[in-house]
């Protein structure tokens, strides 16, 4: 099993992603610099959180056009699994690998806290350790996580089981109150149609031990690495 983590100037959750993958995989992922034009042979590509290129134009917009992302998109098309977290999710929507866009949070503020998420649809590879309908707890840390898409796409995401996680309470109730950032239908994470890409705003890599406050992230990565090994 091999994994690669993409590093842009301004990525800042790259080390956290590396640590989480290492903990479950037993060895280090390759760290791939944005200016590279070759991806190493890999069974998993992770696009980490941060502020790629300062997020100055629009979150993820410049990174979406970086040399390495052309390679990532090619790999995505042939089915390489891709985990895109937070800024990575924004980059993935900018490249068109995932539908929709991440707008400024409805309250206009950066939000950093643990959130409860309802597992909305199962995808063995990514969330096989969880049951559909159960809740997991991952932290969020973003200013622009308000998922938006048009009605038609939203209906398709709902209808085809492409919604991975929804912001909920700890009992799995998905309501306006639990919608931390104004996302349509409380969407926190989605799959692409082929099911090989997961984009999510919450950070599973941040809760990977009791000392850090929880282990749902470890369960997530253990399953992901297992299913790809």
């Amino acid at each position: 099993m091999k994994a690669a983590v993409i590093v842009f100037p301004g990525s800042n959750c790259d080390r956290d992603m590396k640590v989480a993958i290492e903990q479950s995989m037993g060895h280090s992922p390759a760290m791939v610099w944005h200016a590279d034009t070759d991806l190493p042979e890999t069974d998993l590509i992770a696009i980490p959180g941060g502020f790629s290129y300062g997020d100055y134009l629009r979150c993820g917009a410049i990174a979406g056009n970086s040399p390495i992302m052309r390679e990532v998109v090619k790999k995505a098309k042939v089915g390489t699994p891709i985990l895109a977290v937070c800024n990575g999710f924004q980059v993935a929507t900018e490249t068109g690998m995932l539908p929709g866009a991440l707008l400024r949070n409805a309250n206009q503020k950066f939000i950093c806290k643990d959130v409860d998420l309802k597992v909305a649809a199962n995808n063995e590879r990514f969330v096989g350790a969880f049951e559909t309908g159960q809740t997991v707890r991952f932290p969020v840390a973003h200013h622009d996580g308000n998922f938006f898409t048009d009605d038609e796409t939203l209906a398709r995401l709902e209808g085809e089981g492409l919604i991975a996680f929804k912001y909920s309470d700890e009992d799995g109730n998905v309501t306006d109150t639990t919608n931390i950032n104004g996302s349509r239908n409380n969407i926190a994470g989605i799959y692409n149609e082929a099911g090989n890409i997961l984009g999510l705003m919450p950070h599973p890599e941040r809760l990977i031990s009791d000392q850090l406050g929880g282990t749902d992230g470890k369960t997530f990565f253990d399953n992901l690495i297992n299913s790809l090994s």
Partner: protein, 732 residues
């Protein structure tokens, strides 16, 4: 060139006697560039001219101190070849004028101070003071400052793990934004600022120089008046993305041995950094200003030297290493320019367009920086306010709710949820506890970090307040199980030319000194911000203290939350019941009076050492220091954090309100299983530490005999809602 008139000298903030000194040093009239340089180098902000005499009296040494005050930040040994490098700095004046950029660049500046020394920043903290909650500007300032602190730290990917926030009318016209950064370095790879090696290249890296922030240091050395808003153009603009690149590029270059010396360009920009490097190294520097990367056209030497554009560094490289360094900075898409060389002339010579535009002797300019022994008057300690001088609460439940929902006590979650406090994956105690705790990546060790000061105590009696601020950080670190190592101080005061303000400064320093000595807890870095006055009204004296402590084993950490039902609650330490300057007195009686709680440093140390030992022995299940609001507030906070109530049975000779709300120092609330509690009581007796059983944890209410029965949820409502309610714009 501009003729130097009396008016121009005075606009540059130089007094007549200071200008006489300039003429003496130069033996001629300075040109405008030289005058500008003298002006910033001799400003209060850069020269510490009013405070130096007193700062020298603080203890700065201990076996674990690697580098004390005088460098970019303080350095302490944390074992295994590792060092913690940290400092706190103010950015008060700019933050009042332009809260977002002022706060953001304050955070950027302090992080640069830390990574200049070779450390990767691992945590940010802050200490914020705003005006009274209902002041028309408060909401705007809170909102801007908090977004600015978050905006910079979040983008850098350094967790902002906590801090403190006060609201008081004394800050209506002068808010305080104090930012602290803690970094981690190897003890054999720490970088200093003394220039060396005649002929070595002087290199400029980072952002280009613009016209922003010119005279920022001078602005920070004067009082505000009604026209201060017009100073907006002197506030710098931050670019955290560039700083993130600068951080990575500097650390990459620091992993080689190409750097001789390095200094960040902070206040007074290129002037201050080049003079400091030359002065510390006892050398001269020649700079060709044509080679400085500029982002605006037709900048004059004056503007280049005084610009406070952010995200810039000055380095002295070993000869022949320019190429290697340039490759690294180009990889990170940053400017890299050789702008001069180290000389043996002892002079700072600046050229532009082939002409010499300034020629100044380095040492006399630095050594002759004015140092004042300003007149001061001591603040006499007011009389204590005894419990019997204060009326008993009519209804304990209503009283507790009022205090828990008051501006000093209510939850700061609205603030810290806007800071990424988890990035880097090592935050093991998040904001909201006594101190934040971050692991040293890849080890079992952890650092506890806190910032504290109780300005109303400092105002009432500076000596006591100064000692209390240091002791409170020490107590907060201890409450997590950490061994306190050292502090950084950020001294925020009014106009030092007024004897009563100077007296506050002297008093606070004296108190701090006593506490640092008694607790083996030296000062390793710091910053002074004076002239925090508007139209002649000064702020409360606010010596904000940032403390760090070491947990050799991170799993020996204590937190404040009640963990389990059926555990015994104990209080460590004794109460006199004095009510002066307490939150109870302020909130319930509307009086801000009396002596602050007295500080007995020997007792502080004895009680703290007892608590820390008990934490390390695994005997405590929770621990929280008693501070603002007193015992019942501390217990409520523990209940809220653990979502677990308590039955209290506090036997005391004191009146109920004194037992519940006095702010006597050197006290902690701890919990333990009932078996362990027996053991603890015996140990405490032997150690001569007062330890008293005061209740049991359980269910979801706080009960206290017939006096009190209140649900945790009712407390949570007032505690959680105060700040969000304040910040909600009416009508939205």
């Amino acid at each position: 060139m501009t003729e130097i008139t009396k008016e121009i000298v005075s606009e540059h903030g130089l007094s007549e006697s200071e200008y006489e000194e300039v003429l003496k040093i130069l033996g001629r009239v300075p040109n405008i560039n030289e005058l500008g340089i003298f002006s910033v180098m001799w400003s209060e902000h850069c020269s510490y001219k009013s405070s130096k005499k007193w700062l020298k009296t603080l203890p700065t040494e201990a076996p674990w101190v690697i580098c004390g005050p005088g460098e970019n930040a303080g350095v302490v040994d944390i074992g295994d070849g590792q060092a913690a490098i940290f400092k706190m700095e103010s950015h008060n004046h700019p933050s009042y004028i332009e809260p977002y950029q002022g706060a953001a660049t304050g955070v950027g500046g302090i992080m640069r101070d830390v990574f200049t020394m070779g450390a990767r920043p691992i945590a940010n903290m802050n200490a914020l003071r705003f005006g009274r909650p209902d002041h028309p500007k408060t909401r705007h300032l809170v909102s801007g400052v908090v977004s600015g602190v978050g905006g910079y730290g979040n983008c850098m990917g350094i967790p902002t793990v906590g801090g403190e926030t006060n609201f008081h009318a004394s800050y209506d016209g002068n808010i305080l934004v104090n930012a602290m950064t803690v970094g981690l370095a190897d003890t054999d790879n720490i970088f200093y600022s003394a220039a060396a090696g005649i002929g070595n290249p002087v290199v400029y890296v980072g952002s280009k120089t613009g016209r922003d922030g010119i005279h920022g240091a001078t602005m920070a050395s004067a009082e505000f008046d009604d026209d201060s808003e017009e100073k907006r153009p002197t506030v710098q603009v931050g670019d955290p993305f560039t700083e993130k690149l600068l951080l990575e590029a500097c650390l990459e270059l620091m992993a080689t041995d190409a750097i001789v010396a390095i200094q960040d360009m902070g206040a007074a920009g290129l002037t201050s950094s080049s003079f400091e490097m030359a002065d510390k190294g006892g050398v001269g520097i020649q700079l060709d200003l044509d080679n400085v990367p500029m982002r605006e056209e037709a900048m004059t030497p004056y503007e280049i030297m005084l610009s406070e554009s952010q995200e810039r560094m000055l380095m002295i490289l070993k000869p022949g290493r320019e190429g290697e360094a340039k490759t690294i900075f180009e990889k990170w898409e940053l400017d890299f320019a050789v702008i001069g060389k180290v000389t043996d002339t002892g002079r700072m010579v600046l050229t532009m367009g082939g002409e010499i535009v300034a020629d100044l002797p380095v040492a006399p300019l630095a050594d002759s920086a004015p140092e004042y022994d300003r007149p001061w008057v001591k603040t006499e300690c007011p009389d204590p306010i005894k419990a019997s001088d204060v009326s008993a609460p009519a209804d304990l439940k209503k009283t507790l709710l009022k205090i828990m929902g008051s501006s000093d006590i209510a939850s700061r979650k609205w603030i810290w949820e806007q800071y990424d406090h988890m990035v880097m994956g090592d935050t093991i105690q998040r904001p909201g506890g006594d101190a934040a705790v971050v692991r040293i990546h890849g080890t079992d060790k952890a650092l506890a970090i806190t910032t504290d000061c109780t300005p109303r105590y400092c105002y009432a009696h500076p000596e006591t307040g100064g000692a209390q601020a240091v002791a409170e950080t020490w107590r907060n670190l201890t409450a997590t199980g950490a061994l306190p190592l050292a502090i950084t101080d950020c001294m925020n005061f009014g106009n030092p030319e007024r004897p009563e303000i100077m007296g506050q400064f002297v008093g606070c320093i004296e108190g701090m000194r006593d506490a640092c000595i008694a607790l083996d807890y030296p000062v390793v870095s710091g910053n002074v911000s004076l002239y925090n006055e508007t139209n002649g009204t000064g702020i409360f004296p606010t010596p904000a203290i940032g403390g760090i402590g070491l947990l050799k084993q991170s799993d020996h950490m204590a937190t404040l939350a009640f963990k389990n039902s059926g555990e015994v609650i104990l209080v460590v330490g004794e109460a006199s019941g004095d009510m002066g300057q307490s939150i109870y007195l302020k909130e319930i009686e509307g009086r801000e009076e009396g002596a602050p709680p007295s500080v007995d440093l020997a007792i502080e140390r004895k009680n703290g050492d007892f608590v820390r030992d008990a934490i390390h022995a695994g005997e405590l299940t929770a621990c929280h220091d008693i501070s603002d609001g007193g015992l019942l507030v501390a217990i409520s906070e523990m209940a809220l954090a653990g979502n677990c109530g308590a039955d209290l049975d506090l036997v005391s000779d004191l009146p109920l309100h004194a037992a519940c709300f006095s702010e006597d120092q050197a006290r902690y609330i701890v919990t333990a299983t009932s078996e362990t509690a027996e053991k603890l009581l015996e140990k405490a007796k032997l150690a001569n530490v007062p330890l008293q059983l005061i209740g049991t944890t359980g269910h979801n209410e706080l009960n206290f005999g017939t006096e009190l029965s209140i649900s945790i949820e009712d407390i949570r409502e007032v505690y959680s809602n105060w700040l969000p309610d304040l910040m909600t714009v009416p009508g939205n």
